[in-house]
């Protein structure tokens, strides 16, 4: 058993004596009227080596796919060695929230840099220090926009279903109505949006690239929103932001997204990184921690948590969100990733994703898996599935390939810089083979 307690039994006895007790049970005399627990029914403790064996055993019961063609909200990208090294630095790992700025400048500056980079990528004015994940960031953004009589959130049905479900949960808690906007050919139906932006609507959530990988027209959506006094929440992919029109350029009010592609491992879904950035006019409604620059008593530049009176520890039930702990280490990881890749590297990742996805889409089309939608896409695309999807996935799995995600009777494929030409060709060959043999 490892308990990580540094005081040996004899020292514990001395300490007990110093406070007038003879045993550890005496520390709990305040617990009186509920039943005392009998010994907990859980396993005996283990040595480090035993724990390592037990947990490594669990890891070995998972399948690591050498080739992944599945995204749908979690993306495998190359993570440079330096990023892992920075993210595992012991002080970054074990520090708490930087409440004492004088000894937390490193953490505060890292967050300030992260906020700056998110603003640069999204072309928005202000970023917070992070939210739990992309889905809850969208939900928090919807809450930010609700004012007085405008409580309704409109969501394009082309948004990632995990995001839609999370926004729905948060809105339901607040008794705020949600309306889904239909899609035409895999894209938000702009006519439906025009018809829906009524006087009770607070915001519209539009994701681009959307769930099907297609590029949505944020600019057109922003125009409709602006005329109706409605806020546009743009859900974005940070890698795509290196290449495509940005929420800021398109006139969005808030940009949110899942930051996992920025150097954060797949990790079976978390911890990930919700990023949130907004126009300056919304700064005071932005939830969560925010780091700002100032000067110290000697006039030296330094960083602090600022605008704290927005937050739950001060505003309590009047705070717009209860978020306290965020995803600081993931934000630092993203910042390290951006620094390691640089402006050039990030764009290269985006360009390779786009090029390889288009190469794969052609190869799959030749194999009989034709594109369902005709509009431009980034690194994901939906194809028809002319064979039984389950048996195709099983066949791919035998070859060490995680195939696309079966969605809407088709398959949603994702291709990143991690997929090389050989792997894509092999995927297409297996698909072709599957079609031939049924």
């Amino acid at each position: 058993m490892s308990s990580y307690i540094p005081n040996p039994d004899a020292v514990q006895r001395d300490m007990l004596q110093a406070i007038g007790l003879t045993n550890l049970d005496g520390l709990y005399s305040a617990i009186r009227d509920e039943p005392r627990v009998k010994p907990l029914n859980m396993p005996e403790g283990m040595s480090e080596l035993e724990t390592r064996r037990a947990v490594s055993g669990m890891a070995s019961r998972n399948v690591i796919f050498p080739d992944i063609f599945r995204g749908a909200g979690a993306y495998r990208h190359y993570i440079p060695a330096i990023v892992k090294s920075i993210a595992s630095k012991e002080t970054f790992l074990t520090a708490y929230t930087p409440y004492q700025p004088e000894i937390s400048q490193g953490i505060l500056q890292a967050i300030f840099e992260y906020q700056s980079e998110i603003c640069m990528l999204t072309d928005m004015d202000v970023s917070n220090a992070s939210a739990y994940d992309g889905a809850s960031a969208a939900a928090e953004a919807a809450a930010m926009c609700r004012v007085r009589k405008r409580a309704r959130t409109l969501i394009a049905s082309t948004v990632n279903p995990g995001t839609i479900a999370t926004v729905r949960t948060y809105c339901r808690a607040s008794d705020a109505p949600v309306t889904m906007l239909p899609a035409v050919n895999g894209l938000l139906d702009m006519d439906a949006l025009r018809g829906a932006v009524g006087a009770d609507v607070a915001s519209v959530i539009v994701q681009s690239p959307n769930y099907y990988g297609l590029i949505e027209d944020w600019e057109a959506a922003a125009r409709v929103c602006r005329e109706a006094g409605v806020k546009l929440i743009a859900v974005c992919n940070p890698i795509a932001l290196a290449l495509y029109r940005t929420p800021g350029e398109c006139g969005a009010d808030i940009a949110v997204g899942e930051g996992q592609p920025l150097g954060i491992p797949l990790g079976f879904g978390g911890p990930y990184l919700g990023f949130m950035a907004c126009a300056q006019s919304l700064t005071r409604s932005l939830p969560g921690r925010i780091v700002g620059e100032t000067t110290d008593a000697d006039g030296k530049r330094c960083y602090v948590l600022t605008l704290q009176a927005r937050e739950q520890h001060i505003r309590r039930e009047k705070a717009s969100s209860s978020i306290c702990s965020n995803e600081a280490l993931c934000a630092l990881t993203a910042s390290a990733y951006i620094a390691a890749m640089g402006s050039f590297g990030l764009r290269q990742v985006a360009e390779q994703c786009c090029s390889k996805a288009h190469y794969a889409a052609n190869a799959l089309a030749e194999a009989g898996f034709t594109l369902r939608y005709g509009s431009p896409f980034f690194h994901e695309f939906l194809t028809e599935c002319p064979v039984n999807a389950d048996s195709l996935m099983a066949r791919l799995e035998r070859e060490g390939i995680l195939g696309g995600l079966p969605v809407d009777g088709g398959i949603l494929w994702c291709v990143t810089e991690m997929n090389d030409r050989g792997g894509i060709d092999r995927l297409a060959d297996i698909c072709k083979e599957a079609r031939r043999h049924g």
Partner: protein, 129 residues
């Protein structure tokens, strides 16, 4: 601390200046601004908002606290001091010039104090802290 004679006051540390014609200018007292410390932001209401006597109509933020401001009367907001949105420090610099809102009301509040009575109350509160 100064408490001008021509103003009325509330126990919750707002001052009221009667402008005539059912119009009142409202701000924070010297005691309030001093207890708040450096004001960093003011969340003002919107013109047209309804005011209920004793209910919070806006809040004022310092670095580590947020404080409600309570309406001294029942009526409606007719004007807000937008200068405070960019320069909240004016409340600390000259709290009687840095008004928050102008309100219209059919009647004054029910429990206003004159400068003498308020000054005694502020002194007592200051001593308690």
């Amino acid at each position: 601390m100064t408490f001008p004679q021509h103003l009325s006051y509330t126990k919750t540390h707002e001052w009221i200046e009667s402008l005539g014609g059912g119009s009142y200018r409202i701000g924070l007292t010297d005691y309030a601004q001093s207890a708040l410390g450096d004001v960093v932001f003011v969340n003002l209401p919107e013109p047209g908002d309804t005011l209920a006597e004793g209910a919070s109509f806006c809040d004022v933020e310092s670095v580590k606290a947020v404080s409600d401001v309570y309406s001294p009367l029942s009526g409606a907001v007719s004007e807000i001091n937008e200068v405070l949105l960019d320069s909240p420090e004016r409340i600390n610099q000259d709290c009687y010039a840095a008004w928050l809102i102008v309100a219209t009301a059919d009647a004054p509040g029910s429990d206003w104090l004159d400068a003498g009575a308020y000054s005694a109350l502020a002194e007592a509160e200051a001593n308690a802290h």
